[in-house]
Subunit: 292 residues, 4 copies
Amino acid sequence: MTVTLGHLNAGSGDNFVAAVGDIFEHAPWVAERAAAARPFATVAALHDAMMAVVRAAPRAEQLSFLRGHPELGGKVARAGAMTADSVAEQGGLGLDRLSDAEFARFERLNAAYGQKFGFPFIICVRRHTRDSILAAFERRAANDVDAEFAAAIAEIGYITRLRLCAKIDGPGKPVTDGWLSTHVLDTVAGKPAAGVRIELFEVGQSARSALAATTTNADGRTDAPLLSGGPLRSGTYELQFHVGAYFAATSAAAYPSYLDVVPIRFSIAEPEAHYHVPLIVSPWSYTTYRGG
Amino acid sequence: MTVTLGHLNAGSGDNFVAAVGDIFEHAPWVAERAAAARPFATVAALHDAMMAVVRAAPRAEQLSFLRGHPELGGKVARAGAMTADSVAEQGGLGLDRLSDAEFARFERLNAAYGQKFGFPFIICVRRHTRDSILAAFERRAANDVDAEFAAAIAEIGYITRLRLCAKIDGPGKPVTDGWLSTHVLDTVAGKPAAGVRIELFEVGQSARSALAATTTNADGRTDAPLLSGGPLRSGTYELQFHVGAYFAATSAAAYPSYLDVVPIRFSIAEPEAHYHVPLIVSPWSYTTYRGG
Amino acid sequence: MTVTLGHLNAGSGDNFVAAVGDIFEHAPWVAERAAAARPFATVAALHDAMMAVVRAAPRAEQLSFLRGHPELGGKVARAGAMTADSVAEQGGLGLDRLSDAEFARFERLNAAYGQKFGFPFIICVRRHTRDSILAAFERRAANDVDAEFAAAIAEIGYITRLRLCAKIDGPGKPVTDGWLSTHVLDTVAGKPAAGVRIELFEVGQSARSALAATTTNADGRTDAPLLSGGPLRSGTYELQFHVGAYFAATSAAAYPSYLDVVPIRFSIAEPEAHYHVPLIVSPWSYTTYRGG
Amino acid sequence: MTVTLGHLNAGSGDNFVAAVGDIFEHAPWVAERAAAARPFATVAALHDAMMAVVRAAPRAEQLSFLRGHPELGGKVARAGAMTADSVAEQGGLGLDRLSDAEFARFERLNAAYGQKFGFPFIICVRRHTRDSILAAFERRAANDVDAEFAAAIAEIGYITRLRLCAKIDGPGKPVTDGWLSTHVLDTVAGKPAAGVRIELFEVGQSARSALAATTTNADGRTDAPLLSGGPLRSGTYELQFHVGAYFAATSAAAYPSYLDVVPIRFSIAEPEAHYHVPLIVSPWSYTTYRGG
């Protein structure tokens, strides 16, 4: 399915448009105009060139392009007229399964936004949780038209960068993945804490969702990152470390101990970054910090 | 309402029994026999003397005394035949307002316990949460009869010590109060964090209850202890420190920050102790420990 | 020896001048003019009034007053013509026992300073270590004349405030004392660390001086503050906590352990403040912070 | 210079002895007898086989072998009769440049030890500082003869393992290297602290020696380990982190700040281990722990 950058550079303009013409929603003209700038040394350079085409387009064409995007969680999503990429991106967040109340809230925000700006609210949903989308929606609705126009284009940059990286193989891919890791150190024994059960939750305004459950290995780390394989979703998370059971198993500590399940709640705001959340812990104390 | 120890020491035996005869449930004989040991130098000595009477009583009399205690959360509670002290103590925990499922669980535990030991499960409820009562119930149900007999007498010591301290004024009162305090230090500014909102919850197996909400003063402490005025209830608690809002207000930190609400979950196991739970915090890190 | 504020307020002007006329170096006129403002509600108000007299004096009189102060560590100190107060203040720091090299350095600084400003360098030595005096000397030598004139008057405020507080009893004394305290918490046991040997050093550019040695009590604190009884001296200090011996005595920790003597080096910059320097420690980790 | 394990396995017995006959001090018989056990799958297996020869030798032969080792820091060292390996190993620690007082102390210990055990004190000096050698000397002098005989053989194991690894290349080399690393995290900025000057000292009983000075890179780490390339030397060390200058350069912190140079003093007891000594620091607080 993936195409190589070399293939794109070497082929005809038609082949190029056939391969990447659908990266920008209903806008093959972006690929058509970018084709002339070939060859591209890196995947990032290809994406930059396509974004430059968007930014250089006349305002009317840009507006028409923005208008070609589906409403977020709106009628179109329910009626099934979105591109396959949009369906996959929005579905990952459950925007196609909103409750009636949530649907109504999005409808109201969509309506007010459309009336003010004349195009639908565009956001790279794969970098967001429902809560952070809602927060961004409300924050951006207060923008003036020029600022919001730029914000929408910037989001299209995030969206198409992910689509392009999924489709094209080659050197110089832009960084689109973030990851979350942890490390548990036992300050009684002075060594990594092995066998500590860890659970990860997304903490939403209305509910928390379990995202992962694992156990520390001999290095006090987890065999795989807690989150990885794409951008992290901006939002609030909570790690829960079952240190009471660990200390009960490894030492003479009374159980239930002063510390049993240690929750660490933190927010992710940089989807492409590494978040390292260590726990330095005894049965009576702990330290955590954003590491890296 | 309160009586002085001096008055008890100086008065007649009848007066003494009239004053403290109801401290031990349906057992005025405890006071009658302890009267001879007057005068008592301290309230603690009076209580010790009464407990010595209980421990010196023949087994049959002890058993009859234990049997005079109401079932915990049981039929008697619903039917209204408890002493006023028992009603107040059990009601504080909501044992008179159990759901049908909880009521059924207590009934089953009570029945099995009664069948094994021949007396009702006795526990000083004012030192416990519902969860810790249930844990103690299940743990003690596994005791042999002698160990459990001793455990029941020990609980009567806790119960009557509280009743006596509430009724008698005088020197040398035993320590029956615990307290919970906190302290928030801002490691960016190197000084106490003033104006941090703090909430305290009891974290039960099935639900969490809000117990207190307050704000740190200029010393980074709370004007009053978070819990005080009696024994602490054994159980699991969570403090939530609203440090995101604090740092947003006091510095140029981005908001929402990496840390917004910092939860610290801990267990209390010593009802008469001081639990000091400090938070040493920056927008990106924190340390906590059991202080004192 | 001390005089009460009430006595000063009630007595004659001559009595007043007799009592406090020597607070300002060779300048009884300060007391003479301040006498008219009696009565003073507080000792602080008395000092404020005397400083107001200094600040209101004609520049020539101020300059003459500044010139009446001894050179710091200079010829006068060696020759013995200082007031008794100045001798005591400078002697506490060892300025009368300078090495030849230090003496030469002070001489050079004094000479350059005197040539630039026309009066000797004045500093409240009781708020300083030798190192911080030298640093202040070099920093202030770069001032323009007006700024340095104000700095010299401010230092006279510190000097005379201490002299006045030593001589006059009464309500509303200004705060002139700082203090240094510590607290050692054992995170393995979850309680204060008792019996930890602590040493305090002043860490100078050229040498370190032992200031105190003590042992933590049952609360993990020291029975008396590590420093107190006057202003703290600005400078760099090091606390050394003998935690290796503590953990060897209280637990099964191997000895010599990873941590043996834990040094905490910190600077004091506010002589009238409370510096609390806690140590939260296990055999393998520790946290410290400026508390309060 | 190095020989491959394959070459040793394939060659004649004479070649084998020529290559590794000098690994054990003045004892080519160790290699002679181990030759029969060829081929060896790993370098570790070769060393194990040679140690098995030593352990299987008759006591008289073992004793003679032990007696073939030079006195530590003794007459022989001064007189120049040691093997080249011994000279290099002892010289690294400065045992050939002892002061007269130190020389006398070693002489006394050597004499008492020799009289008690009948062979010289043997220790793998490359795993030790002068202080830890002295401590081991005094501790081992209290052993009974059998325990000390075993201790001496164990030290020969450490010595010859290093010699063998330096000479033989091949699969399965035993781990003989330890390393020391650090990591500085800035809790004000929530990111690695770049550009922090770090100095490393060995803290001896009588003096401290500077071992390394470096600066943290963009990851808050050092480009190379602070110590590496061989066993770590058991002993006490101090890292000094110049955080005052770092915070003065990166933020609006007052300078000199509360923390300027942060010393972390720790002991190394496992020469082949990784010691990771992170510093989590703000201008007013820090945490450290043995990481890994």
